[in-house]
Symmetry: C2
Subunit: 335 residues, 2 copies
DNA sequence: CTGAAAGCGCTTACAG
DNA sequence: CTGAAAGCGCTTACAG
């Protein structure tokens, strides 16, 4: 690859001048500018962004820190949003290969070493020591679904609380009084907020919270099946089930059908996420739309705002969600 | 962040010496080594890999070039394999933001500019001019499913031809004589090879190729539905349908059921990919397992082999596939 | 065993 | 308007 020196020599100017035309400085004569551009074209020169980054202390690179596999539908949609926001911005995305087996491994050091301009973090526990390091550093950071903020660290999430409240309210309006909730693993604020939303919804519908109507699973298909089984075996099973993910809703539906019952005639089911499969499979799943793509896009917008403005502190961002009503919820059966 | 200079000063040695201990050169006295390591720990120093890359002309970075969204199940599984192979290798993954709207955009220049050590390419047409540039360059490249090779460019794919042959053979052994194929968009070698495999399988089963049993769709759920509808409306509809993706198989199954027929009692259906959903949904889908994860892993292995050995030319790699028999195929109904 | 110097490919005051 | 020089954070012959 041709370097800036080659261009300078070919154009008969100094490297400083070449640098100036590359960076569109105004103080270059038209004549020189043309000479240089011609040399650039001729040599098919492309500036080395790594070298530029060394002096500018920038890399035009955004890091992502993920502990969840790419095959996770949330992750892939988040990345799709991130990618879309990055396209044509001059930034590339770098996935940081975490090395948790190394006790000295540090997110922050890794980011520094790669010189990334900012980082978006997803799927990391808030008590991970790396998170702490990040929020106290000046490295622009966006946490997705991890409830942490700092002067240079933002937090973006779906309005989980409201989302589940709306789901309860929907069932309640359909006449359901026995509404169960299959939560995801508790601990992460995301899961906790959803559970609170469920309890708030129950309260607002004038119902009473019944602990046996609350199950926990790991968001998976099988987890949803197992939790549903427990609910169905209750002496007084629910007529409506809200699940914390589409996958667990699919699992619950299968279990319900295995028990000889049908959805939504006997039992209404609501999912969470509105993944591709929720719309594609029949009957279409009633589910909470989480605008994951948009979360990806906005996390980049805030990240870049921080990168380009050293004083900027991002707000906490709560992306709205809404219920997508399809065909797995119906009026409660009148007995 | 502390730099190598800070460490040198703190340890009372030269930067050259610090560099030597960082890189485990043997010609450093134990005493000095200890002093330096102490300084490194004290300053929480981490070498800047970007600066190192500038002089070594390496970046310990692997690029990926994708035209297909992250949400595509093939892509996410491929990336998962790539990521796994990269973990603990010291390499990070960088997604190159393509800028196709810029007529001067060049894959190769982008890679050079980012200084990536190699690149894996997926979902790019073989007649894309960027592909040509890549195979004629010395940049280590692995093409996934794009039939292109070069001195420093490898090609890895699933054994598509055989895969579909096996599918035909399976149906044939179950007594099916009317076997249809719903292809993906023709053009890419992947799709063409699968179609050839279908025709070969038909021939080997002693059947005759019937053009009306061959439909084309875009691999999607809806595409599968529509193609299945055409097949079902044939005067002499097939009893077995092989699809070029799991999604189109799901679509076909739904269409079959909408026609009041059932799978596998009336019609057997085979998918392609063995995605997560193929095993999770009931009835489990009989499908061709494509080891996408492994394709990701191996593409990295060959890429790194090239990076570390300037003379290495990778072979063409055909990953084996096999049929996973679940519950959507059965003996043909005897009339 | 140790370190001064040159260099990787750039940018940026600064002098002219 | 142009360019020489210093510097970003490293590595690597090479001299001692």
């Amino acid at each position: 690859m041709a370097s800036i020196h080659d261009v300078a020599k070919h154009a008969g100017v100094s490297v400083a001048t070449v640098s100036k035309v590359i960076n569109n400085y105004p103080d270059v004569s038209d004549k020189t500018r043309k000479k240089v551009n011609k040399a650039i074209d001729h040599l098919r020169y492309q500036p080395n962004v790594v070298a530029r980054g060394l002096v500018k202390r920038r890399s035009w690179t955004v890091g992502v820190l993920l502990t969840v596999p790419f095959t996770n539908p949330f992750v892939s949609e988040l990345l799709e949003g991130i990618k879309t926001a990055l396209e044509n911005s001059g930034y590339d995305l770098v996935r940081l290969s975490t090395r948790f087996d190394d006790p000295n491994y540090s997110f922050l050091k890794h980011c520094r070493s790669r010189n990334v301009d900012g980082v978006v973090v997803f799927g990391v526990d808030k008590d991970n020591r790396g998170v702490d390091e990040l929020i106290h550093s000046d490295l622009p950071t966006m946490f997705v679904d991890t409830d942490q903020v700092g002067k240079r660290a933002g937090y973006i999430t779906t309005d989980n609380h409201n989302a589940i409240r709306m789901a309860v309210s929907h069932l309640s309006e359909l006449g359901h009084r026995k509404i169960a909730y299959i939560s995801g693993t508790l601990g992460p604020s995301m899961a906790n907020l959803r559970l609170e939303g469920y309890r708030a919804g129950i309260r607002e519908s004038g119902l009473e919270y019944n602990p046996s109507y609350m199950e926990v699973c790991d968001y998976s298909f099988d987890g949803g099946s197992q939790a549903a089984r427990k609910l169905l075996e209750l002496p007084n099973p629910p007529t409506g089930i809200i699940c914390a993910s589409d996958m667990s809703a699919f699992g619950a539906i299968q279990e319900i059908e295995r028990h000889g019952l049908s959805v939504p005639e006997d039992i209404s089911v609501i999912g969470f996420d509105n993944t591709y499969y929720a719309q594609v499979f029949k009957p279409g799943l009633t589910t909470v739309n989480q605008n994951i793509f948009n979360i990806g896009v906005r996390s980049i917008e805030f990240l870049i705002a921080m990168v380009e403005n050293a004083e900027y502190s991002p707000p906490v961002i709560m992306e709205p969600s809404h219920l997508v009503i399809r065909h797995t919820t119906a009026k409660v059966q009148t007995v």
